[in-house]
């Protein structure tokens, strides 16, 4: 069976993929459909949804178009989710690979370091980091990456430990390949499937983290994001439910879609381990 056929066997994963493509389309089409800045006041404030042509989802406390914010926000959420996951992989994969390949003291030291980061409450650390570095896309990406690399390191370490004594690695060693070649060319390619599955779930968590940070007022002040929209509408929730409802729904759908796609990838990449359902 081909990769996609196995992926498509999981109907949830297909649904997830469709939602995800829709979100990407929203992000890409935002500048086309709403060329104006989503921060511009375009109508009277507190316009309810479905009440006026051109303002399908209503306007917010400052008269800004909710639909425009939603579409521009898709871009930010997806971008931050993706980039911070890549940065987390750049930290976690080398640390895990070195710990798992060399073992011994190196492994001990690196795992203590990883445990330290796992003990610190995730979200509280992210808040402190962004607050001190000042909110910006860069500081948010860094903070999310710093709190989410430990699971990557643990996974890669476990994979390396189970692979480092296989025959093909012994063979590579006998041929005289250097440690770095063995790590990069022999073992790492064989650990890619679990890393890809974990990464897709990490993008989902990263999007939740980003939205929670901007909800608390720690978003980049120059970019419109879903979390910011909900946070700004928090105090007027009694008068205007739609200001929080639509951005929250967008977050929920995106995170759900990524989780479903992750499960599908797991089925497709690890056919032998496919869980009973």
């Amino acid at each position: 069976m081909s990769f996609f056929a196995r992926f498509a066997q999981n109907r949830g994963a297909l649904v997830g993929l469709v939602i995800l493509l829709l979100m990407i389309a929203m992000a890409v089409l935002a500048p086309v459909l709403f060329p104006e800045s989503p921060w511009r006041m375009v109508q009277r404030p507190f316009l309810p949804p479905f009440s006026q042509e051109g303002f399908l989802l209503g306007t917010d406390t400052m008269g800004r178009n909710v639909a425009a914010g939603l579409m521009h926000g898709a871009w930010v959420s997806l971008l931050i989710g993706l980039v911070s996951t890549c940065v987390a992989l750049l930290i976690g994969v080398p640390l895990g690979a070195i710990a798992g390949y060399y073992g011994g003291l190196v492994d001990d030291a690196l795992m203590r370091f990883t445990e330290f980061f796992q003990t610190i409450p995730n979200f509280a650390l992210a808040i402190v980091l962004v607050a001190i570095m000042q909110p910006s896309v860069t500081s948010i990406v860094l903070a999310i990456a710093i709190v989410s690399w430990p699971p990557v390191a643990r996974l890669v370490r476990a994979e390396f430990m189970s692979l480092r004594n296989r025959e093909y690695v012994e063979a590579a060693r006998l041929v005289g390949q250097s440690n770095s070649t063995i790590i990069l060319r022999q073992i790492l390619p064989n650990t890619l499937s679990p890393i890809i599955v974990l990464a897709s779930l990490m993008v989902a968590t990263a999007i939740l983290l980003e939205s929670a940070l901007s909800f608390l007022g720690l978003g980049d002040p120059n970019v419109m994001s879903w979390g910011y929209m909900i946070g700004a509408a928090r105090t007027v929730i009694r008068q205007a439910w739609w200001l929080s409802f639509f951005p929250g729904l967008a977050i929920l759908l995106t995170v759900l879609a990524l989780n479903l796609v992750g499960e599908g990838l797991d089925d497709a990449l690890n056919p032998k381990l496919s869980r009973e359902r």
Binding site: T119, I120, P121, F123, A204, L216, R234
Partner: protein, 325 residues
């Protein structure tokens, strides 16, 4: 005695971790933008040099770096977290004042999510490959993907604004002057929405974990033996499968403690719950860095204490594990 040694070793490790966090905190304070004295003075509306120097001296900001580090570390060792730059009150007092509310909220949410998660998970495990079982798992996935602060806000809209069943803000009705049982009831009413929204996410995690763990346990030989003996399926599920399936869930619960703190920050912010999470939000809004870092340290300490407790419980629950590893 094994437990005493275990706890001692874990405490030793905890002290090292906390020491590292203190140093980390100190470095972050140095990185924080602006001179705290200037921020303070700006807030007070006066910025002449003399006043700034006075403030610097009062908060020890005129000392060399290593003296400041020593004062900071030795201060925290004696539970002196310094002053909140904005409120002029010791950080430790502020946190202690807010801690009971957070413990009440997270404790309730923890028990609620654990009980509901285990019940839902075992129901899903008993209904594998049936629509009802899949429905439970689909719901768990939705709760897992929902932003906590959004559920909180939507539950305010539905249960407080629209239906008017439950209060949405605070710990108790201000000015009602309830005492005794009436006060307990009042607080319980205020607790329903925050605790439930905080519990949903964790319930989803425990549901998935319980199901997987029970399906694994059901494959074991002792379950086959029990079935061969002719025990009723219900009895097997309860006494043989569930009991063994619960072990990994205790470990998981320990790992979730950090997440719980993060969740409490968001829920307390939405429901104006007077705990340390709300305090953190207030510190954030006022850029009160010393208070912020004090709360950060404290939340890490809470997580470590909770981890030690789950570790001990795990060993009590599973006598096969002996010694300290």
């Amino acid at each position: 005695m094994v437990y005493a040694r275990l706890v001692l070793m874990r405490l030793f490790k905890a002290v090292i971790v906390l020491f590292l966090i203190v140093i980390f905190n100190f470095l972050l304070i140095q990185m924080a933008p602006g001179d705290p004295a200037a921020i303070l003075a700006g807030e007070a509306g006066a910025a002449d040099q003399e006043f700034l120097d006075q403030l610097r001296e009062r908060f020890g900001l005129d000392q060399p770096m290593y003296v400041q580090l020593w004062r900071y570390v030795s201060g925290i060792a004696m539970l002196d977290f310094g002053y909140s730059y904005r409120l002029g009150v010791p950080v430790f007092d502020l946190i202690m004042d807010r801690l009971p509310a957070t413990l009440l909220l997270t404790g309730t949410a923890f028990v609620l999510s654990l009980v509901l998660g285990i019940v839902a998970g075992s129901m899903a495990a008993a209904r594998v490959k049936k629509p009802s079982g899949s429905l439970i798992m689909a719901l768990a996935l939705v709760f897992y993907a929902t932003p906590l602060f959004w559920v909180a806000l939507m539950s305010v809209v539905v249960f407080s604004v629209y239906l008017g069943w439950l209060p949405a803000y605070g710990l108790y009705t201000v000015g009602a002057g309830h005492t005794g049982f009436a006060l307990v009831l009042d607080v319980a009413k205020h607790l329903v929405l925050p605790a439930t929204t905080l519990a949903l996410f964790f319930m989803a995690i425990y549901t998935r974990m319980t199901r997987t763990s029970m399906l694994d346990a059901a494959q074991q030989d002792y379950v086959k033996t029990a079935r061969a003996k002719g025990l009723k399926p219900g009895t097997i599920q309860r006494r043989h499968v569930l009991r063994n399936a619960l072990l990994p869930i205790i470990t998981l619960a320990g790992l979730q403690a950090g997440q719980m703190v993060g969740g409490a920050i968001l829920t307390e912010t939405v429901f104006a719950w007077p705990g340390i999470g709300r305090l953190m939000f207030e510190a954030l809004q006022q850029r009160d860095y010393n208070l912020l870092l004090g709360i950060f340290f404290f939340s890490a300490a809470l997580v470590i204490v909770f981890n030690i407790i789950t570790d001990v419980v795990y060993r009590l629950a599973d006598p096969r594990i002996k010694g300290a590893s």
